[in-house]
């Protein structure tokens, strides 16, 4: 017999019944205190310019308006940057740096009144030249928002020169809006002294606390930030909520009334950061077998007007520009470019996908050049014993990539299906097909080493019920469920006894963002640590009472046994309470082994790697560029899964989100520097009919984390996002069939129907197969 809801079990999400019945409470659903006011923002309407005048009299005079707040009204600094670079003003005061930059806030009796009032501002500008994309930024001198990074090993120049084949290429990689279904919002409630309590949809309550304290000019202890759940985050609520929380808090303290700020979707999409677009320029040297000898790459990123998280994002792009492949000699350089756009930010994968996809493009280019199946080239280049040093000098020790790929090749019937695709295309019809297998290796840990810590607070109440709090936030990923499983397992009680409460900075302080896929790794361990502390006290007490050694106390499914005597959990706890045993404990965890020196570009930034692979098959209408993903097979490694049902959901969801990034999700700025795809009517995330017609997703059930992580599981949030690269590569193959696979079509992303059709047209109008990029022969 085992407990209900222990680890390694399929368990439904702890809020599932509330989700489906509309009873799950999100920040906008919290009952507003009497007197709650609503704030809204006025936004800039130029991409770059100097404010010559700003007249807010009509705003102030509008019906229902209570207050207008400008930069002059801020008690602390006009800055919401979280990284200490002081480069992110809350309100633009002189120079406007992107279209949609906040200029002021208006507070009114209703949200509708505040929105209508905000639109009445009269602002005039002297417009200045703007650079909204990477090319324009480079042409304008390539200003950087944060110091770049170089990763190097060996001597790339001589290795490249000596390589039998060399290819130079470039790839444009589009950005992505998070499109969390619940937009950004905060509710601030003023308290006594300097106190303010904030309910905020955020992945990083501690950062909200710090930024609000900074803006109010008060100590962190005065600010409490709480979030029970988010309606999706995906990285978009790691820093992007800061400005809205600050405005609500400043207004609440100024007016001594609760203030809520919730953005309209269009304003949310226009004024919050997204996944970074990249332009990669690469050169690869390789031998006749497709074995990579040298890689040289530049990674230019559209960072937006300030640094935000662009430093670590562009770093992580470089960390994943090898994906699963050994580069004997390598040099990779990041270029975090300043652009007149909203500051780009964290998004599932955090730059990793943009680096990884370049590795896959390089492999593809080699394969087309040599006329081989890209899978052969992949296998020839996997890390393995003796070929196991990454460009950042971390040794890859587990090397299960080949095992994952081999299993998937077999279960997906890859070889026969590839042949069928080739045969189909050989008929020369309008509909072309493509199939591709792409791998993922993703490094787990924050590269900012100090973030790899977590705290938890576990209370056992005298009736035997257990309340758990930890620093992680719930955004749908099932973190609270997994942590509750860990706690249930530790005490050997049914999970019904365990309740996880809202994440709040006054229960567990100094938390890290729930990000980098680390939520369960860190907080699960911290919670376990707290449980073990309580168990040790209980064991010592019970053993002492029975005159037995502490080892005689066993927490079992039937209750707690002390020697031969088994006591029901609730009775046991009741007795412990009566005997004055402390039944509450904090827990703490920090990831061991990791270190990273950014100056030398060397270290062990990652505790371990997560792996996966996918095979996708597509059909392309070469007259319109429209396509369908016919089938996708996935095998993904989550170590020894804490909850296979939840992990499977993460893998499926991440794949589809990745597919959206690479296919239909297009960010489009007009020539005035205004984002025009700022709502779901114009920005197209996948819908149900877009997912693969056949979708087979499996976890690698044999896998176990070699590192002693929580129950030997592995992180799952981000790695499967990159499994979608197989869709892009399959599209490439379908297009390539138009000229007999002589050229790699090199689709940029997102591969919209338009890009696919234009790639078809380019091949159709090409005079003859030509290897214009080959320079080594």
């Amino acid at each position: 017999m085992s407990i209900k809801g222990g680890v390694h079990q399929d368990l439904i999400h702890d809020s599932a019944a509330k989700h489906v019945s509309g009873r799950a409470e999100y920040t906008d659903d919290i009952l507003e205190p009497v007197g709650t006011l609503h704030a809204y923002l006025g936004f800039s309407t130029v991409a770059h310019g100097r404010i010559t005048s700003i007249d807010l009299s009509a705003v102030r005079a509008a019906p229902g308006v209570v207050e207008v707040i400008t930069a002059d009204d801020l008690p602390g600094e006009n800055d919401v940057s979280a990284n200490g670079m002081h480069d992110e003003p809350l309100f633009a005061t002189d120079e406007v740096l992107f279209w949609g930059q906040p200029l002021f806030a208006v507070v009114a009796e209703t949200r509708d009144a505040a929105r209508r009032a905000a639109a009445l501002a009269e602002v005039s500008y002297d417009t200045l030249p703007h650079a909204t994309d990477i090319a324009a930024s480079r042409a304008a001198g390539a200003p950087l928002v944060t110091p770049p990074l170089t990763l190097k090993r060996g001597a790339v120049k001589p290795a490249m020169a000596a390589a039998p084949h060399r290819i130079k290429g470039q790839m444009e990689i589009g950005g992505q809006d998070h499109f969390y279904l619940e937009g950004q919002l905060s509710l601030a409630i003023p308290g006594e002294d300097e106190d303010v309590r904030i309910f905020c949809s955020t992945q990083h309550p501690t950062e909200v606390q710090h930024v609000v304290a900074h803006a109010l000019g008060v100590p962190a202890h005065s600010v409490t930030v709480t979030v029970r759940r988010m309606g999706g985050g995906f990285g978009g609520k790691e820093t992007q909520m800061n400005a809205f929380a600050v405005i609500a808090a400043v207004a609440a303290k100024r007016l001594n009334r609760p203030v809520k700020l919730r953005l309209d979707r269009d304003d949310d999409m226009s004024s919050t950061g997204k996944r970074h677009d990249f332009l990669a320029e690469y050169e690869v040297g390789f031998d006749d077998e497709g074995r990579i000898l040298a890689v040289d790459g530049d990674f230019f990123a559209r960072c937006g007007f300030c640094s935000d998280l662009s430093g670590p994002v562009t770093d992580r792009a470089l960390f994943h520009a090898d994906n699963a492949y050994f580069y004997p000699d390598v040099e990779l350089r990041s270029h975090p470019l300043m652009t007149h756009t909203v500051s780009n930010t964290a998004f599932r994968g955090f730059g990793g996908p943009q680096g990884l996809i370049v590795a896959e493009r390089i492999v593809e280019e080699i394969a087309y050049h040599l006329g081989r199946d890209a899978l052969e080239v992949r296998r020839a280049n996997f890390y393995g014993p003796g070929r196991d040093l990454t460009p950042y000098h971390q040794q890859v020790t587990d090397n299960i990539m080949a095992e994952v790929v081999d299993e998937l090749v077999a279960t997906s019937n890859y070889a026969a299906r590839r042949q069928a695709v080739l045969d189909w295309n050989a008929k020369g019809g309008i509909i072309r097909k493509g199939i591709a297998l792409t791998p993922v290796k993703f490094g787990i840990s924050f590269t900012a080493t100090w973030f790899n810590q977590a705290g938890a607070l576990v209370h056992v109440y005298s009736d035997g019920s257990i309340q758990v709090n930890h620093g992680g936030t719930e955004m749908g990923q099932g973190l609270h469920t997994k942590v509750a499983q860990v706690v249930a397992e530790a005490f050997q009680v049914d999970i019904d006894r365990v309740k996880i409460t809202a994440t709040t900075t006054d229960k567990v302080p100094n938390t890290s963002a729930t990000a980098a896929s680390s939520g369960t790794d860190l907080n699960g361990m911290a919670a376990l640590n707290a449980c073990e502390a309580i168990k040790a006290r209980l064991a010592a007490w019970a053993a002492d009472k029975a005159g037995l050694p502490a080892e005689a106390v066993v927490f079992g499914t039937e209750g707690v046994s002390v020697g031969d005597k088994v006591t029901d959990w609730a009775k046991f706890i009741g007795a412990a309470y009566m005997d004055r045993v402390q039944l509450s404990a904090t827990g703490f965890y920090k990831t061991p082994e990791i270190h990273w020196n950014r100056d030398t570009g060397q270290g062990r930034p990652f505790y371990y790697f997560a792996y996966g692979a996918s095979v996708s098959e597509v059909s392309v209408d070469t007259l319109t560029g429209e396509y369908r993903v016919e089938r996708t097979d996935i095998l993904h490694d989550v170590g020894k899964s804490l909850n296979p049902a939840i992990d499977l959901g993460q893998v499926e969801g991440a794949f589809v989100q990745g597919m959206g990034w690479l296919t239909t999700e297009e960010l489009w700025w007009d020539d005035k520097g205004r984002l025009r795809t700022h709502a779901p009517s114009t920005y197209k995330i996948p819908v149900a009919s877009d997912i693969p017609r056949e979708f087979n997703v499996k976890l690698a059930s044999w896998s176990e984390n070699r590192e002693p992580t929580i129950k030997r599981s592995k992180a799952v949030g981000e790695p499967p996002f990159m499994l979608a690269v197989s869709v892009l590569e399959a599209l490439n193959m379908a297009v390539a069939s138009l000229d007999g696979y002589a050229n790699c079509p090199k689709l940029d992303t997102p591969a919209t129907p338009e890009r696919v059709l234009m790639a078809c047209e380019a091949l159709r109008s090409a005079p003859a197969p030509a290897k214009v990029l080959e320079i080594g022969e």
Partner: protein
């Protein structure tokens, strides 16, 4: 004329009566702010994400029919004499979770949960009508629901494994009492006001004609799938607002004098059966108009009346040589739909005049048809290029050609040069490709976020080629 000055409707199990209702008040704000029914979420406020999906039951020509709609762009005034059903009303026959909810729990269909109430409501509408849905049925039901977490696969699994019990469903059990309550609310004209905004719900089409003569500047609103955004996104005043979606005498679908007459208040969903049985080539096209909620609310009349160059129905209706009947007071005039569209933002509709119906000539021998929609995403997207084609053949030669493009100009546009080039030609790939080469003489499309001018032109030409390949049976099926 006798009229009521109070909005009355059923909300879940309660009767609601409101004296003060503004033109721009939305159903969603009423639910969330006034009633604190917070299970219904706002995700986008433009009818695209479906997080606000509720059911609205209305006594129409077919009796009481419940449909899924977006509460964010549904005006509160338009639910007069309706039964609004929100997620809070949903439960199983035993009072516990409904079979749809239980399946969503069992199959892990929710992650963050924010889209979930809307998805459950869409699935509930599907469950009532289609107890054993195919994957395609589920995908259609979810066209207007975005989920960013799950990748939809577990939701589709849930829908294919849910329990039954339709006859014991609470909504079925209370059906008679709902009908009685709604009937008792009376069908007089309703006039409402709040903060200087005015709302009129005419009692009939004749009453509507009278109202518009008196209020020629009124905003006429049927499904609000467009006007809703004027309010939620552009904060535009729409008062006085005249609602027509409830008028059963604008919901006629009948064959008269060799044409199918479709009343201006007929929604895409209501028209679907009558359209597809006569013009089966529109099946795939019809399914791609908006999402399910939008097709349940939006009307063909509204799609025509608002004059948008990217409306989905005008290109295919003009290809079918449809006419529009406009009415002012008791005067009616009929003109070819093509002539209704004068220029971008300008239509042949006088103040006080309204679109009463659309007449579509029935198919005739010798005609071949096609309709195409190209968009970035297959479902619930706006056309990058839309095309309606009707060719008439006699003895293997094209004698008449109607090729109409959407998204390529400021109005739905006939490709007259291409049409002329086809007259006398056989329906072959060569003939279509040759004629398509002259498309640049008919349209000069713009570049925008939906596609570049170049892409639009290539696609439009290729669609003519595709049409020939389909007609000559030489195009392979995707997925074959």
């Amino acid at each position: 004329m006798a009229h009521r000055t109070r909005l009355t409707f059923l909300l879940n199990d309660r009767e609601i009566a409101l004296d003060a209702v503004g033109a721009s008040d939305t159903l969603l704000d009423f639910l969330r702010l006034d009633r604190r029914l917070t299970g219904t979420k706002e995700g986008c406020a433009e009818g695209d994400c479906g997080a606000c999906t509720v059911l609205v039951g209305r006594l129409g020509p077919q009796g009481l029919v419940y449909e899924s709609v977006n509460a964010c762009i549904r005006f509160l005034a338009s639910v007069d004499r309706c039964h609004v059903v929100t997620i809070e009303h949903l439960r199983g026959a035993d009072g516990g979770l409904h079979p749809v909810q239980q399946a969503m729990v069992d199959f892990h269909g929710a992650q963050c949960g924010f889209c979930t109430p809307g998805i459950v409501m869409s699935l509930y509408a599907l469950w009532m009508a289609t107890p054993k849905p195919s994957t395609a049925d589920v995908e259609t039901a979810l066209q207007g629901n975005l989920c960013r977490c799950t990748g939809y696969a577990p939701i589709i699994r849930a829908a294919q494994n849910w329990g039954g019990g339709q006859s014991a469903d609470p909504l079925a059990a209370e059906r008679d009492s709902v009908i009685a309550s709604l009937t008792a609310m009376g069908s007089d004209r309703v006039e409402l006001a709040k903060n200087g905004e005015r709302v009129i719900l005419p009692a009939s089409a004749d009453d509507l004609a009278e109202v518009l003569v008196a209020e020629p500047k009124a905003t006429v609103i049927a499904g609000a799938t467009d006007v809703g955004l004027w309010v939620t996104k552009h904060l535009r005043p729409i008062s006085p607002a005249v609602f027509i979606g409830h008028l059963n005498d604008l919901k006629g679908i009948e064959e008269v004098d060799g044409a199918l007459r479709i009343g201006a208040g007929v929604t895409y969903t209501e028209a679907e059966g009558a359209i597809l049985v006569r013009w089966p080539h529109l099946a795939a096209y019809w399914n791609r108009i908006g999402g399910w909620q939008v097709r349940n609310a939006g009307t063909i009349g509204g799609n025509v009346a608002n004059g948008s160059p990217i409306g989905d129905t005008p290109p295919v209706l003009i290809a079918l040589d449809a006419r529009v009947v406009l009415r002012k007071g008791t005067t009616r005039r009929s003109l070819p739909l093509q002539e209704y569209f004068i220029a971008y933002g300008k239509q042949d509709r006088a103040p006080g005049e309204f679109v009463e119906r659309i007449d579509i000539p029935l198919p005739a021998a010798g005609q071949v048809h096609a309709a195409y929609k190209i968009s970035k995403r297959r479902d619930e997207d706006i056309s990058t290029v839309a095309m309606g084609i009707r060719l008439t053949l006699d003895d293997g030669k094209i004698t008449k050609a109607r090729i109409v493009l959407g998204g390529m100009a400021g109005v739905p546009k006939r490709a007259s040069t291409v049409e002329a080039a086809l007259i006398g030609q056989p329906l072959t790939e060569d003939a279509l490709v040759a004629a398509a080469a002259r498309l640049g003489e008919d349209v000069q499309p713009l570049s925008d976020w939906r596609g570049s001018a170049e892409y639009r032109m290539i696609v439009a030409r290729n669609l003519l080629r595709r049409f020939a390949l389909e007609q000559t049976g030489t195009l392979e099926e995707v997925g074959a």
